[in-house]
Symmetry: C2
Subunit: 203 residues, 2 copies
């Protein structure tokens, strides 16, 4: 089915993402981050374009956060690009591992790592629901943790990576709970960039 | 308007994208690519997370293609991540340059550069229209130029970058012409990856 661009039957969340270290050591950094993260609670596959993770929503966010943070803690300039998805009508039921418990495997290991980042995210609720109010409320809630500002085609976030991933997961979950049957969120995160300007929006 | 995640009033296309060279020379490669591309027919702004281009659709594709190809022709492993957008209801009318003509400024310069790449794209027609038939027809048409296969959350393309950008622009235009009033397309492209395996889908 060449035209089937998405996956994520009932309850199966997924993420197609990449970690791009701007460094000659990129293979070592990516391999190291993949090894350090505990991926035992998701299905995961890496090819030459992206890495795909599928499983329960909480584990999908936990694993992608951990892989990014382990890459960024090398101190190199690292970019993270991800599309999170849940509920695509064209999904297959295969290639997934649904862990029995909801305890995020990497939480303890990464929660104390303070990694400032700049991020942009966009939310696309494709399956209806009262989503605009939810997005607005969730972005308001996110302001308690990180700086939020407008960017073209996205909302910009500046803050610590653990807080940013917490906020992203909350926005995504609230959109699903608000009635969106097919939810897509794109995220770009930049760590250790020589262009960072103290977290301000330099648009 | 912190909750306004998108831009692109009637006729204004845009793209938020990043080029990530996996190399210690990343600044030189990015700067060089931005300089080599002719960006005179679009509005463009680069911050520490992404570069934003706004203008006529044909110029937005032309400029993003040229910047990616100039980065990739250094021979370094380069990733390109982009979200193309047209028709977002929340758009502002500012930050745009609408060139008077439709002649793509970079076409002659890059058309003969043969850069094999692996790509994944996803199309999100948010504004209605008879889009599923259009997507299927366009993906069929794309098979004349590049290899097309299924990936989780995306359609995979393997081929030469000029052909892949041609195909992406055609799919996007056909979706808009098919009645989608708000169209979003995400694209990930990888060039010169040590993991490339001759263009096959190794999923």
């Amino acid at each position: 089915m060449a035209n089937q661009q998405c996956s994520g039957g009932t309850g199966i969340a997924g993420c197609s993402f990449s970690v791009h270290p701007m460094s000659d050591r990129f293979i070592e950094i990516i391999t190291g981050a993949l090894e350090k993260a505990d991926t035992s609670k998701v299905w995961m596959n890496t090819d030459d374009v992206t890495t795909t993770v599928r499983g329960k929503l909480t584990h999908v966010f936990d694993v992608t956060k951990a892989i990014f943070i382990h890459a960024a803690e090398t101190g190199e300039h690292v970019a993270f690009e991800a599309t999170y998805s849940l509920g695509c009508p064209g999904d297959s039921a295969g290639d997934v591992y649904l862990a029995e418990d909801d305890a995020p495997a990497n939480h303890e290991q990464v929660k104390e790592i303070h990694q400032p980042v700049a991020a942009k995210f966009s939310l696309y609720p494709l399956g209806g629901g009262n989503y605009m109010d939810i997005i607005m409320n969730q972005i308001e809630a996110m302001k308690k943790h990180v700086d939020v500002s407008h960017a073209h085609y996205a909302t910009r976030l500046d803050g610590h990576s653990v807080k940013i991933f917490e906020g992203l997961q909350q926005v995504f979950e609230a959109t699903v709970e608000g009635g969106s049957s097919h939810t897509v969120m794109t995220v770009s995160i930049s760590a250790n960039s020589p262009s960072h300007k103290g977290g301000s929006n330099n648009e």
